[in-house]
Amino acid sequence: MNPYQTYDAKILEIRELTPREKLFTLRFVDSEANKEFKYKPGQFVIVDIRGFGEFPISLCSTPTREGYIQLCVRRVGRMTKYMHTLKEGDVIGIRGPYGNGFPMEKMEGSELILVSGGLGMAPLRSVLWYAIDSGKYEHIYLLYGTKSYEDILFRDEIIHLLKHGDAIGCTVKLAYEVESPSCIYLERGFSPKVCKGVVTDLFRGMEFDVENTYALICGPPVMYKYVIKELLDRKLSPGRIYMTLERRMRCGIGKCGHCIVGTSTSIKYICKDGPVFTYWEALSTRGLI
């Protein structure tokens, strides 16, 4: 079987999440391919727009909801710009899933702290809904840092969880940077869960049982350092901090060499050995974050 061959997937629905991000709901044209496509939160696929190119993108739907996959695409480069011009009913190619994904089984019974900044919400949404749907996790905290009200990804879901999340064991906390009437409205309605600031401000006053907690981080590269500091200050072990990383992946299967990181003692492929790594692995692999 040719690992570079892609499978037809039809765009069922396109939702505009923000002016920059669209959510694509896809289903494989071939029903067999649809059944065979099994993935874990944190894995990614390669989207193939035939004749234009390929790009890697993380899955933001959860495997607990079958029959479709969802991709949240920010219009940021040549390929994603093209992706944004597609319409419902168009067919694109998908290959994957690739990568290791989050160790969801291992974390069962624990508290999860999901820390996301900006577009980092996309892969963590998969974890969030997987955890909520499976009900196997003690409590889920989602700390989400966003630029402004308009930039909140999956805004309806986030607001819904702000309102009703506690009843299903999920606490959402939101930090915004740019003040606007909508944000102030949110802050008044859901204080102290919503505040002005950055994502690390949401850790204020937070205590957790370090023996029974896992932290999962995804965000822009600058965010990791500060978030990890907050977690380490609270004595969370580096082995309990998971993060998912991004690189210029061309093949997704450890051939093209673009995602190689590390030094002579610790060469790793982000696409194959990752994209989910523990902070411990980041400490022993230079250049990972």
Binding site: G51, R248, R250, T263, T265, I267
Partner: protein
């Protein structure tokens, strides 16, 4: 299981043997072009330079082509590009055989790259012994002698070649040409040992690989990297000519309004775009990062395949800034003391 067998190919039968290889595939051998050597299609033995030092591009160009068509777009679907013709690589040095084995580790690892696999299966590799020049340092990396990875290996004798058979295919070639080979004599073996000894003593360069990987890991902030950042031109020549460099970039090209191709071509970790992601973030933004990255990648030690560097000396010979691989690593080691 490797079945080793030694036979002798006398000089007078050499041309006959060479011509008989044509039935196994298109013969590609080192040919002198200006002041470099290159693996090219040859028709007769006259064209071949058997005493070559190193070709500019290593034999990887037959398996991962500089411009490689992966898929063809026909009516909105990708079709596999086909057409793998059998090739005989004649006169491959042991460092390059080791280089191919390192590529095997990458491309034949799951999921298997079918293009690479097909080409590897459709190739016959005939090695040849060599004498080191001022750039070679394969002996220090243990890649100066190939135990596997070839079909036949020719070792120079005064009156012909001692031939090591390294594969089933190699046996088949010997069987098909039984008339041209002879059994080896004690004297041939003696000469073979003498040649190997002479060769072992002719290396001018050697890489100190003692604790190399750990040493480099400690030397992440070494001032030597900063020094070489200013010397290196960032041209990526060293990547192109390296037998184990395998980074590639993929792009889609339109042939006409209805048909397109997906092509991969060599990429270089010295290019600024290598670590760039959409949105403008670059994971290796400076030349220092990129320079260091190459040395780290080459000095990585895989327990089952050894170092990623085979000591062929190409990066030194073809570096326009005259940066020497061994010297850089020695300087880094020195600065750490």
């Amino acid at each position: 299981m490797i079945i080793l067998r030694y036979v002798k190919l006398p000089s007078e039968n050499f041309e006959e043997f060479f011509n008989s290889l044509k039935q196994w595939g298109e013969i590609n051998a080192p040919v002198k072009q200006g002041n470099i050597y290159s693996f090219k299609k040859v028709d007769s033995l006259k064209e071949v330079s058997l005493d070559y030092t190193r070709t500019m591009l290593p034999p990887k160009k037959f398996f991962v082509k500089p411009r490689d068509e992966l898929l063809k777009l026909k009516e909105g679907k990708w079709e596999e590009s086909n057409g793998t013709k059998p090739v005989v690589l004649f006169g491959v040095h042991s460092c390059d055989i080791h280089g191919l084995q390192i590529l095997d580790k990458v491309y034949l690892d799951e999921p298997v790259d079918i293009y690479y696999k097909k080409r590897r299966e459709n190739s016959i590799i005939i090695g040849i012994s060599c004498m080191p020049d001022e750039y070679c340092f394969c002996k220090s990396l243990g890649t100066d002698f190939a135990m596997t990875g070839f079909d036949l290996f020719l070792h120079e004798l005064p009156d012909g070649y001692l031939v090591r058979v390294g594969s089933v295919k190699g046996h088949e070639i010997v069987w098909a040409n039984e008339g041209v080979f002879e059994p080896i004599s004690e004297e041939d073996l003696k000469y073979f040992r003498e040649f190997e000894e002479k060769r072992a003593n002719s290396f001018k360069r050697s890489l100190n690989k003692e604790g190399l990987a750990d040493m480099l890991d400690l030397a992440f902030e070494s001032p030597v990297w900063k020094k070489y950042e200013k010397i290196c031109l960032g041209c990526g020549n060293c990547n192109m000519v390296c037998p184990t460099c395998r980074c590639y970039e993929v792009c889609d090209l339109w042939v006409n309004a209805y048909e397109g191709v997906r092509v991969r071509r060599y990429d270089s970790c010295f290019m600024e775009s290598h670590g760039l992601v959409a949105g403008g973030h670059n994971f290796r933004p400076t030349r220092l990062d990129r320079f260091r990255h190459r040395y780290y990648c080459k000095s990585y030690f895989d327990p089952s395949a050894g170092f990623n560097c085979v000591g062929c000396g190409r990066c030194d010979e073809f570096c326009p800034a005259k940066i020497e691989h061994v010297k850089v690593l020695d300087e880094v080691r020195e600065a750490l003391k």
